[in-house]
Symmetry: C2
Subunit: 111 residues, 2 copies
């Protein structure tokens, strides 16, 4: 991804996301767009490797910053932070389920 402007589809399943300590958290699985405002609301980060089970976590888009040197995104979160948030969602409704939990990074899925 040498260009600043890329098709959103180029990021999905391709762009790596690195966490606070520089370890790879996962890849961007999808971008959620607020089609009325025209802004990207959040990215869904897919964690886990070939042999591990996958999990999906929403991360507020403006919390991700692009690192041109390694052509990847960085976020000031650890895998434990992600795991403390919502991870299961209804594919049809894009509903992240139990919102009554006290997430350390609340409500980023409703921006």
């Amino acid at each position: 991804m040498p260009h600043t402007l890329v098709p959103t589809s180029d990021l999905v399943e391709h762009a790596n996301v690195y966490g606070r300590d520089g370890t790879k958290l996962g890849t961007i699985e999808r971008l959620m767009l607020n089609k009325v405002k025209g802004t990207v609301a959040y990215a869904v980060i897919k964690t886990g490797g070939l042999l591990a089970s996958h999990h999906h976590y929403p991360v507020r888009w403006d919390a991700l910053s692009f690192d041109p040197e390694c052509q990847a995104f960085r976020v000031d979160l650890s895998l434990e932070d992600l795991r403390a948030g919502p991870s299961e969602f209804d594919e049809d409704d894009f509903d992240w389920g139990d919102r009554s939990r006290s997430y350390p990074h609340p409500h980023y899925w409703t921006v």
Copy 2:
């Protein structure tokens, strides 16, 4: 697309775009993201029907507005306006070619 928040992939090849006079211009073929700024720069509109040849035109994202009633996007452009702009581009570089032409809606592909 009943929800305000949708995966970007749901719009691509699915969302209709209607022009100034209410006629369908085409569909959104892809969304180009400024990955550094985190904003959608422009949409590529694919025109033409099953039997017609397809053309691709960039339209500045903030020129498109979402119409919740018909679940489609509207833009204050005619098909002739689109045709007066760049339509051919290098798939590898996302370069819209001859930028020396005097487009009526200039430079929206470089936002």
